[in-house]
């Protein structure tokens, strides 16, 4: 089966068997290893990527379902100037510890902030209910969201 889709803006064409997950295709076929596998059952959110702007758990998302779609992964966030405002806010707030869940959090929050540029705390926490971080206890991740919103408002 042939899969044609765009990943971080680049057109890609792959020959697949059909049963592959989007996560495996990204990691194994496209060498985009920034997206992580934590549980393979859609529970931890470490594998979150965007499919046409919507956050999905790529570990339980059939790659063939991404036919003609636009995929965004953590590798697509930074700009030519360096980290984007959300990534920067994570760095400055201490929202990163071990970093294994971080790509999933960044993609989930990217989807949230695209839809709601000024989410309140409840919206942020609801959006993060499918992403597990074992290191931070979440406070500095939530702070990073607030910092990012402030920064984007100034810009």
């Amino acid at each position: 089966m042939e899969l044609t889709f765009k990943v971080n803006g680049h057109p890609e064409r792959l020959e697949l068997e059909g049963h592959e997950t989007l996560l495996d295709v990204l990691r194994d076929d496209l060498n985009l290893t920034g997206t992580k596998e934590g549980c393979r059952e859609g529970e931890c959110g470490a594998c979150t990527v965007l499919v046409n702007g919507r956050a999905v758990d790529s570990c339980i998302y059939a790659a063939m379902a991404a036919q003609d779609m636009e995929i965004e992964t953590v590798e697509g966030l930074a700009t030519s100037d360096g980290l984007n405002s959300l990534q920067n806010a994570f760095a400055e707030s201490g929202g990163v510890q071990c970093g294994f869940c971080t790509p999933g959090f960044l993609m989930m929050l990217t989807a949230l902030l695209d839809k709601y540029p000024h989410p309140d705390r409840v919206q942020v926490r609801d959006a993060l209910s499918g992403n597990i971080c074992r290191c931070t206890g979440y406070a500095q991740i939530e702070e990073a969201v607030e910092r990012c919103i402030r920064q984007r408002t100034i810009e």
């Binding site: 953590v74 980290l83 201490g94 510890q97």
Partner: protein, 764 residues
């Protein structure tokens, strides 16, 4: 400008935020093979035959190995009791029986499924009560033959893997003379470290040596354990560290490393990668042990503690790992917070046919504190004394001693902690304004900074930057990416960007005791300071010649050396390094450190005694919870930590450690539990194992007490663990207060809460 106390961004942040950071699972290569393991499907059994012929004939399979292919050796942290592959007996569900390497992960898994295993299930010893019963079957019938790594002389017998006894006859007298005796029994379940990165490892056998890639908390422990399993000298094993996707004590001993190593040897030296799926990871991870503690206190009429008896049974699972030391933790903690009079401690580590337990963050101390604090609340209630007041009456202070005789020099910090807490949250005001179904807990605790050795080599590069060569690992805590980086930068007046810290490599750096016990910033930071002082001496020697000035007239400011009082005289560290390299040779210096042992009474206990409680820190926590009487859910609405830290190097880092530790503590108190039925875990996925989410967490209010330690780097002590030590205790006390019923078992689930509420209503 000083970098101490500044929120410098961790040096690995950019890599982790862009996806560039390389974890072991991301290791790739053209010749990479994939490994998979056949694990025991039963908790106890006898292997009659293993037929690998079909598996070996499958496409892509490079090797299938079993016990007959491995050295006849046993390995272990304290007791050498575990073979690489089960030869005859299997002792827990998940124990490795065979290993396969193949071209793809799917082929490896298919080959594992094709191994024909003839295995007779035997009667499993599923819990401690069964294990300790008379004539119980032995988990290790051959236990006497096991060789202890640390000497022959510690008590173990049958299903008791290790034991510590501190028996004071005066305890019996105290109970005879008591006006009041308060007695409790507490239980706690297992807690899974649940790092988001499941374990993985890559092994390569080349030129007669094993190279292992692994994101591990303790690379030198991997080196030593792999050497034991494969029966080679430790120097024949090289361990290279990668980014660690969380550890929390679960990545302190070997997991997949020796299997990846031996598979590579049997595959012509091609690299072999093995990755746990989440279920394998849960089944085999050395989780925090379940435990039962009986605690009994003798009191006089005034409520003074005359004596205490404490019997602690800790579930070791099938192999002991680091656990053999842990009865000692109970012993030291028993006298570390309150004056408890004469005391008897019996702590036993018990073998069962369950997954081996291990050291999760705050080893054994987490449930000990929960039980001690609930017991203190119980005593205060019996006496009709306010819970906070009763604690203050009995706190240890400066000059008091632990049960070992070790003197606590600065234990007055406990009292100061209560004062700080009172300023933040006045106790009587909180109690007076308490809403229905709300409860408050206040607890105190003492914890260690692990003393294990560490080492640093500093190299002054010709561009004026400093390379830090160390095997210290950053498990995510920031101890290296913030702590060590900032400490070295501060010594040379350099920006953090000018400090490069190597990844761990046991071929390159000297021994390091791993990221455990809150030790890295304190121990390795101190080693870095020693190296920095020596390197600075060399720098001044060279600069003295370049500036034609006396050595004592020189100063190092902002990465430049100049003559005091002559600002124009400054030369850069880069120029000094360049000059040195071509005149006397490159500049580098090393520093090593381990906490010096403190005096103690060798007769204080018999058994597995870890002789001292290094570099203590002192803490007070307060929690307010809200109980939903309809659903049984508990919400932590307010949480305050007063933590003694020595010195804050990076406030964002300290905050991250405290908030994260409290989250894990709340998880242990309210949600997380690996339950065992018929010697097997009920929870086998992250769907079943309930972890704290963002919606569950309060923003922890953090008050740090700075009390610089004479030997710590700029005064810093350990920070990573203390906040988890008291979190389950404080939550359990608050829930008990909210409902007016004692909760002496953790976790406290919604079912437990509803049962308590119904029980109370029936009583009324």
């Amino acid at each position: 400008m000083s970098l101490l106390g500044e929120n410098l961004v961790r040096t690995d942040a950019v890599g982790k935020l862009t996806g560039e950071a390389r974890y072991t699972v991301d290791y790739d290569g053209k010749d990479l093979l994939h490994g998979s393991l056949l694990r025991s499907p039963v908790p106890a059994g006898l292997i009659k035959a293993i037929d690998t012929t079909v598996a070996e004939s499958l496409p892509g399979v490079r090797c299938v190995i079993t016990a007959k292919d491995a050295p006849d050796a046993r390995a272990g942290w304290v007791l050498r009791e575990q073979a690489l592959f089960a030869r005859k007996q299997v002792r827990f569900e998940g124990e490795v029986i065979a290993a396969v390497a193949a071209d793809t992960p799917e082929q490896a898994r298919e080959a594992v499924a094709a191994i024909i295993l003839d295995l007779a299930e035997t009667q499993a010893v599923g819990d401690m009560e069964t294990a300790l019963a008379e004539n119980a079957p032995l988990v290790h019938p051959e236990w006497k033959s096991y060789q202890p790594v640390s000497g022959e002389d510690y008590p173990r017998h049958g299903n008791i893997a290790s034991e510590l006894m501190a028996d004071d006859d005066a305890v019996d007298v105290a109970f005879e003379n008591a006006d009041l005796i308060v007695e409790d029994e507490f239980t706690s379940n297992r807690q899974y470290q649940a790092y988001i990165e499941p374990k993985s490892a890559v092994g390569i056998y080349r030129d007669g040596r094993y190279t292992i890639h692994t994101g591990h908390q303790y690379p030198f422990n991997v080196r030593d354990r792999v050497a034991q399993y494969l029966d080679v000298r430790p120097s024949q094993v090289r361990v290279i560290g990668h980014s660690i996707g969380g550890g929390f004590g679960g990545k302190l001993d070997t997991g997949l490393e020796p299997y990846a190593a031996i598979l590579s040897k049997f595959s012509g030296g091609r690299p072999v990668k093995i990755v746990n799926n989440r279920t394998e990871d849960i089944l085999t991870c050395p989780s925090r042990e379940n435990a039962v503690i009986k605690m009994r206190s003798a009191l006089d009429k005034q409520g003074n503690l005359l004596g205490r008896e404490l019997i602690c049974h800790m579930d070791n699972g099938a192999y002991s790992g680091e656990m053999a030391f842990m009865p000692s933790v109970i012993f030291h903690l028993a006298g570390s917070v309150y004056k408890v009079g004469n005391i008897r401690v019996i702590a036993r580590l018990v073998y069962t046919n369950t997954a081996p337990t291990g050291a999760m963050r705050g080893v054994s101390g987490v449930y000990f504190c929960a039980f001690q604090e609930r017991h203190m609340d119980h005593i205060a209630d019996e006496l009709g004394v306010d819970r906070r007041e009763y604690r203050l009456r009995n706190l240890v202070g400066n000059g008091d001693t632990l049960l070992s005789g070790q003197v606590l020099d600065d234990a007055d910090l406990l009292r100061k902690g209560f004062e700080k807490m009172e300023e933040a949250a006045p106790w009587s005001q909180l109690n007076d304004n308490k809403k229905p179904w709300h409860g408050i807990g206040i607890c105190a605790g003492t914890w260690i900074t692990n003393s294990m050795p560490g080492s640093v080599q500093l190299i002054l590069n010709e561009d004026g930057t400093v390379t830090v060569v160390t095997a210290a690992t950053d498990n995510g805590s920031g101890a290296v990416s913030m702590g060590i980086t900032q400490i070295v930068a501060e010594h040379f007046g350099l920006p953090a960007d000018d400090i490069v810290v190597t990844m761990p490599d046991t071929d390159v750096a000297a021994y390091d005791g791993g990221s455990q016990g809150s030790r890295t910033t304190h121990i390795v930071g101190r080693a870095a300071g020693i190296a920095a002082d020596e390197l600075k001496g060399m720098i001044f020697d060279v600069a003295s010649g370049m500036l034609e000035a006396g050595r004592d007239d020189l100063e190092l400011v902002n990465g430049q050396v100049g003559v005091v009082g002559y600002p124009d005289s400054r030369i850069s560290l880069g120029d000094i390094a360049m000059t040195a390299t071509w005149t006397r040779g490159p500049l580098s210096a090393s520093g090593s450190y381990t906490t010096a042992p403190v005096p103690y009474n060798p007769g204080c206990a018999s058994g597995m005694l870890f002789p001292f409680f290094p570099t203590p820190t002192y803490h007070v926590h307060l929690a307010e919870v809200e109980v939903n009487p309809v659903t049984g859910n508990v919400r932590v609405v307010r949480y305050i930590v007063v933590q003694e830290v020595g010195r804050v190097i990076n406030p964002a880092g300290v905050r991250g450690q405290i908030q994260g530790a409290v989250a894990q503590g709340i998880g242990h108190a309210l949600y997380e539990s690996l339950r065992i039925r018929d010697s097997r875990y009920l929870e086998r996925s992250l769907e079943a194992y309930r972890l704290p989410l963002a919606v569950d967490m309060p923003e922890v209010e953090i008050i740090t007490m700075e009390h610089p330690h004479a030997l710590g780097p700029f005064g810093a002590k350990g920070v990573g663990e203390p906040a988890i030590i008291l979190a389950p205790a404080t939550v359990a006390c608050a829930v008990s207060d909210a409902i007016g019923r004692p909760f002496n078992s953790i976790p406290i689930t919604p079912e437990d809460v509803l049962e308590a509420i119904v029980g109370k209503e029936k009583q009324l």
